[in-house]
Amino acid sequence: MLTLQNCLLLSALVFATGVFGVIARRNALIVLMSVELMLNAVNIAFVAFARFYPGTSQSVAGHLEPAKAPAGHIFVLLTMAVAAAEAAVGLAIVLAWFRNRKTTDTEEMRNLRW
């Protein structure tokens, strides 16, 4: 059951759910949460590949050995940092928008100035 394919299927299903949320919902907050879902789906795929294909890394002595911290783990950490930055900027935009227009509806976000 714990196979690479099942992990990737979980990742794909969560990603498709996030795509649905971004397209089908009109509330800007829920759209941002769906983006977080998609980023997390990618993280699951990274961790799964890192577990099943860890690759090699250079040891201190200079020869190749099975990696104990594969590149996928580092990528996940970088993705988390980018997701945090994205959430902060996105929520600040929603907040500024709500202050001016009293709505969080993405359909109302048609113009750059008013």
Binding site: L2, T17, N43
Partner: protein, 188 residues
């Protein structure tokens, strides 16, 4: 053997919890309920990462997503304090159905590609696989440049959020209550 059975059982449980949380997140009308469902999703993903031998990432998932990003979402939701009539209307249901079908097709395409890939058994890894010490060593030995670039990105995002969310950038904030110097019997 029982150890591996336990691990597989927990993988199935966490996977279904993650899918359930994701579905709830995109389907709730009130963003507060979506945010609470997102906690379930983040916790379940953290469990999946733990089962996939990434203990440091599982902890980071809980701390960064459930601890920081979700609190940010909850703060903004409470700051907006949307009432029921302010939630706005949803898209018409035929459009939602069409989007759902499109996303199901997307998942089908991805699943077809995934199921064609070879499924290798998981290689045995040591107890320190993905531990904080190993991830830190790898990050500061091999990936130090991306790490530094991310710090610049976070600095830019921090300043951008402050600029975007602040009310008046060019004028100072008005005083809370102007001093009333003409009031009768001012307590001088």
């Amino acid at each position: 053997m029982s150890h591996s059975v336990l691990r597989e059982t927990f993988f199935v449980i966490f996977a279904f919890l993650a899918i359930f949380g994701a579905f709830l997140t995109v389907s709730r009308r009130n963003p507060m309920y979506s945010a609470v469902s997102l906690i379930l999703f983040f916790g379940a993903v953290s469990g999946v990462m733990m089962i996939l031998s990434a203990p440091f990432l599982a902890l980071m998932q809980l701390m960064v997503y459930a601890g920081a990003i979700l609190v940010l979402f909850l703060f903004v939701i409470m700051l907006l304090a949307l009432r029921e009539e302010e939630l706005g209307e949803e898209r018409p249901w035929p459009l939602q159905l069409l989007t759902g079908i499109g996303c199901a097709v997307l998942f089908g395409l991805l699943a077809a590609a995934i199921l064609r890939a070879p499924s290798a058994p998981a290689p045995a890894v040591g107890g320190d696989f993905g531990s904080p010490a190993e991830v830190g060593r790898s990050m500061f030995a091999e990936w130090v440049l991306p790490f530094e670039i991310v710090s610049v990105l976070i600095l830019a995002a921090t300043m951008g959020s402050v600029v975007l969310a602040k009310k008046h950038l060019d004028r100072p904030e008005p005083a809370e209550e102007p001093a009333d110097t003409h009031g009768p019997g001012g307590g001088h």
